[in-house]
């Protein structure tokens, strides 16, 4: 059948009518856009760092003593929001690592491995309490050293770090019950390497279960954020733990490599990039060392049309802009059911207009500084690739401070699954939005990644949550919520996001030989 009106160059009356209706709707939507005016300009409310006394130079914490590094070298740790040097930190070399491992072995043989669980527990409880007592100081230093907003370090990082010690302390004298009466014993010396995104919290995730289970520890903090781990060392010193139970060796990649390669280390725990994780797994082949890896992610946050959209928007913002997106489990791929894509994007833009970026020490700040210049460069490069590959960029309209490393909260629409921004971990405040039509398509797209750390599901239908949750290849699924953490809740990935779990009873298995 031919319709004389439907020719290529002469649109039908119907079509014209429809387009006019669409245009009218568009104008109406534009008119609905929120006008914030000056309503969101807050007076500055900075947390004062006056009472914080940082030392000019930090040594290595080995065998309960503060020791200058054999390398004789120190490096600066810089505030990413001001580019000011906060302190100098020792650069541990292979010799320092060896000293630390020997101290840990000695402590394991002499005190810690033999101590009753009930006694070990009390030491670990001491650490938990001291973290609470010094919470304010730790939060401020964490924010200065890492650039994260004070409200996050104050409300999330530090309380959770303390909670991890508290939780694991209680396990120390109950390990015989943890695995249905199977006999357990500690592994020995654990070498632990942690990242810069949650410096103290990661130290707590690693140290607390390790020492509660009776192991001793050599921990290597990230080179851009070593300060809170060193303050933790002071706490451990003040808590009078036997010397050598926890040793902190600061340094960069080479220091970490020396630690994981040390022949007298029984267990390696690493949190960081998938690339480095693979190198460690390769290096440990044939060594008989136990290994757990918590690596990268590219989580899908799936929003179904029946989801409570305003709550979902909060979850999306929390999922990707929390801690500037420096989160391995960040919800960096937003999969939206096609029918609600436009309205969700509009709501997201409105919400992003209210995000305050700036001084991380300001209690009103939502988005802090990017952790380092190198990380900022990587984010910029990936964002550029997104533009080049044809995705549409939106960045929140906010002013960036003149000094420091900053990137505005950003998202891409019209991105395809093959785009680098949809495949690679950006580790920054950059969201990639894609659409789907059926639950099966959402699941397939969500699983179309080498990673499998986490995922989000937003829907009002309970049965749909379980249907989707069982099909997603991810270690942590947040349904109608996102980025929630707890020491009693196992965390860790599927596929190339690593193996092993941290937290909960499952987290103990990483530090015990279960017979």
């Amino acid at each position: 059948m031919t319709d004389p009106d439907r020719t290529a160059d002469r649109p039908s009356a119907d079509l014209v009518k429809r387009e006019t209706a669409v245009e009218k709707a568009r104008q109406k939507t534009a008119a609905l856009a929120l006008e914030f005016g000056k309503a969101w300009e807050y007076a500055p409310a900075p947390e004062t760092p006056d009472h914080i006394k940082l030392e000019e130079r930090y040594q290595l914490f080995i065998g309960g003593k503060w020791m200058p590094p054999k390398s004789g070298k120190y490096f600066d740790t810089v505030s990413p929001s001001t580019e000011q040097t906060l302190a100098q930190v020792a650069e541990g070399n292979a010799e320092d690592v060896d000293r630390a491992v020997k101290a840990a072995r000695h402590a394991y043989d002499k005190y810690w491995g033999k101590m009753r669980g009930a006694e070990r527990a009390k030491y670990v409880f001491r650490i938990a309490r001291a973290l609470q007592e010094k919470a304010r100081e730790l939060a401020i230093v964490e924010t200065m050293d890492g650039g994260k907003p004070i409200k996050e370090s104050r409300d999330v990082d530090i309380p959770l770090a303390s909670a991890h010690f508290f939780y694991n302390a209680g396990w120390a004298d109950k390990l015989d019950y943890a695995f249905h009466g199977r006999k357990v014993r500690p592994l020995g010396v654990a070498g632990q390497v942690i990242p810069w995104n949650f410096p103290l919290l990661m130290a707590a995730w690693k140290i607390a279960p390790a020492i509660a289970c009776g192991n001793t520890v050599v921990l290597k903090p990230a080179e851009t954020t070593p300060l809170t781990a060193l303050l933790l060392a002071q706490i451990i010193e003040e808590a009078e733990l036997p010397p050598g139970v926890v040793n902190i060796v600061t340094g960069a990649g080479e220091t970490g490599a020396a630690l994981v390669a040390h022949p007298d280390v029984n267990k390696v725990a690493f949190t960081g990039s998938t690339d480095v994780g693979k190198k460690i797994q390769r290096a440990l082949a044939g060594s008989g060392k136990r290994l757990t890896l918590e690596l990268g992610g590219k989580a899908a946050n799936i929003v179904f049309a029946d989801a409570p959209l305003d709550q979902a928007v909060e979850g999306i913002v929390g999922g990707i802009y929390f801690n500037q997106g420096h989160v391995c489990c960040a919800g960096s791929r937003l999969l939206v059911e096609e029918s609600v894509h436009d309205i969700l994007v509009r709501k997201l833009k409105d919400r992003m207009a209210t995000l305050r970026l700036g001084d991380p020490l300001d209690k009103n700040t939502d988005v802090g500084a990017i952790n380092s210049r190198a990380q900022l460069e990587r984010i910029k490069e990936l964002v550029l690739s997104g533009e080049r590959e044809g995705a549409e960029r939106f960045s929140a309209p906010c002013e960036l401070p003149g000094k420091g490393f900053w990137f505005p909260p950003t998202f891409f629409t019209n991105a395809s699954q093959s785009c680098r921004i949809a495949r690679e971990e950006i580790f920054g405040p950059v969201l990639t939005i894609m659409t789907f039509r059926t639950p099966d398509e959402a699941i397939e797209k969500a699983n179309n990644t080498m990673y499998g750390l986490s995922a989000g599901i937003w829907t009002d239908k309970g049965s749909k949550i379980f249907h989707v949750a069982t099909r997603l290849q991810a270690g942590v699924i947040w349904a109608n919520t996102y980025n929630k953490f707890d020491p009693s809740s196992p965390f860790g990935g599927y596929k190339e996001s690593g193996f092993g779990r941290e937290g909960g009873r499952q987290g103990l298995a990483a530090y015990l030989e279960v017979q």
């Binding site: 797994q281 044939g286 919520t481």
Partner: protein
């Protein structure tokens, strides 16, 4: 491609036996040749041994083979040397593909159903126990040990049949988080697991490594013992007549030094359980596993006592390494 040369059997021609016969026919006078007064030896039908992939018995796509010589058993004092497929890279990939395709359906079955299928396998094994025992002896296992091994293998199938719907109760947790959320962590299968079965014990070793993997919903690609692949193939005949869906357990025959590295490199293989006598090969498998962050466990050989033991040779500890933990959070509120 040429197979590997093995020594051909030396046969003494004492006039009482003929090559390729199993001595006198088992049936006595009834089995006598119609035209002959005296009993004549019957020529046996030799089996062509094939690998078990996707529920079918297949040759190696490569056409390669290796030879296995049998030890004396029962009525057959001098079993022939047989050709067994020598699995190639492509065979491994084909098997992984089949296992990959089978994994969604297998994992989606209820644990109760998987348990029933494993129990059915035990029933089939029991009904063929004398044949399995004879096969082990032919493969070089001592007679008494063979009987004990078959018994233990059947019991192991029963053990893991009953495990399928208990795993969750043993390892799952409710997580009492500080906040208005309900959270739990449950075990899930990993996907396709590569198994390099131990050389010895050939039957019990294969069951003890493969069954804990599949009882939880994983699928397996296993390499049978190269010392006695025929018993493994006989086990596959039991699988084929049990209720196991094709592709859940796939068994290849060949050499660990060839197959193990290919499994370790394959990105669709999520985990490996490799029992290897060669320490260097164990290291190589671990190293190659890193490229895809594979969950790989390697082990040195253990003695028969270890495998027979109810505390050591089986247990939840065999199941756990090939489970993922999935944690789910949901808000609580009105």
């Amino acid at each position: 491609m040429a197979g590997e040369k093995t020594k051909t059997a030396t046969r003494e021609d004492d006039g009482t036996t003929l090559p390729g016969t199993a001595g006198l026919p088992r049936g006595g006078p009834i089995a006598r040749h119609a035209d002959s007064e005296a009993p004549v030896p019957r020529v046996t039908v030799n089996k062509a041994y094939k690998m078990y992939v996707g529920g079918a018995f297949v040759r190696s796509e490569s056409g390669r083979y290796f030879q296995v010589r049998g030890s004396a058993v029962g009525h057959d004092p001098d079993p022939p040397t047989v050709n067994v497929p020598r699995a190639s890279r492509k065979d491994v990939r084909d098997a992984v593909l089949v296992a990959h395709n089978a994994k969604v359906g297998w994992a989606a079955r209820t644990p109760f159903n998987r348990g029933q299928i494993l129990y059915r396998l035990a029933e089939v094994l029991e009904s063929r126990s004398s044949e399995l025992e004879a096969s082990l002896v032919r493969g070089g296992t001592d007679g008494d040990e063979a009987a004990a091994e078959v018994d233990a293998a059947i019991d192991r199938a029963v053990f893991y049949a009953g495990m399928a719907d208990k795993v969750s109760a043993l390892v799952a947790t409710h997580n009492p988080v500080s906040g208005p959320h309900f959270g739990f962590s449950i075990p899930e299968p990993m996907g396709v697991i590569g198994v390099i079965a131990p050389e010895k014990p050939t039957l019990l070793g294969l069951l003890s490594t493969v069954l804990p993997v599949v009882t939880t919903g994983n699928t397996a690609v296993a390499l049978a013992s190269e010392l006695d692949p025929r018993t493994a193939i006989l086990f596959c005949e039991c699988l084929a007549t049990s209720d196991f869906p094709g592709g859940v357990i796939n068994v290849l025959t060949g050499h660990p030094f060839e197959v193990a590295p290919i499994m370790a490199k394959h990105r669709e293989v999520t985990g490996i359980d490799a029992w290897l006598s060669d320490a260097e090969l164990r290291t190589q498998v671990e190293r190659l596993s890193a490229d895809s962050v594979k969950r790989t466990k390697t082990h040195a050989p253990r003695d028969l006592e270890f495998w027979l033991g109810e505390r050591q040779g089986q247990g939840i500890g065999w199941v756990e390494p090939f489970l993922e933990t999935k944690t789910v959070w949901h808000p609580v509120g009105l």
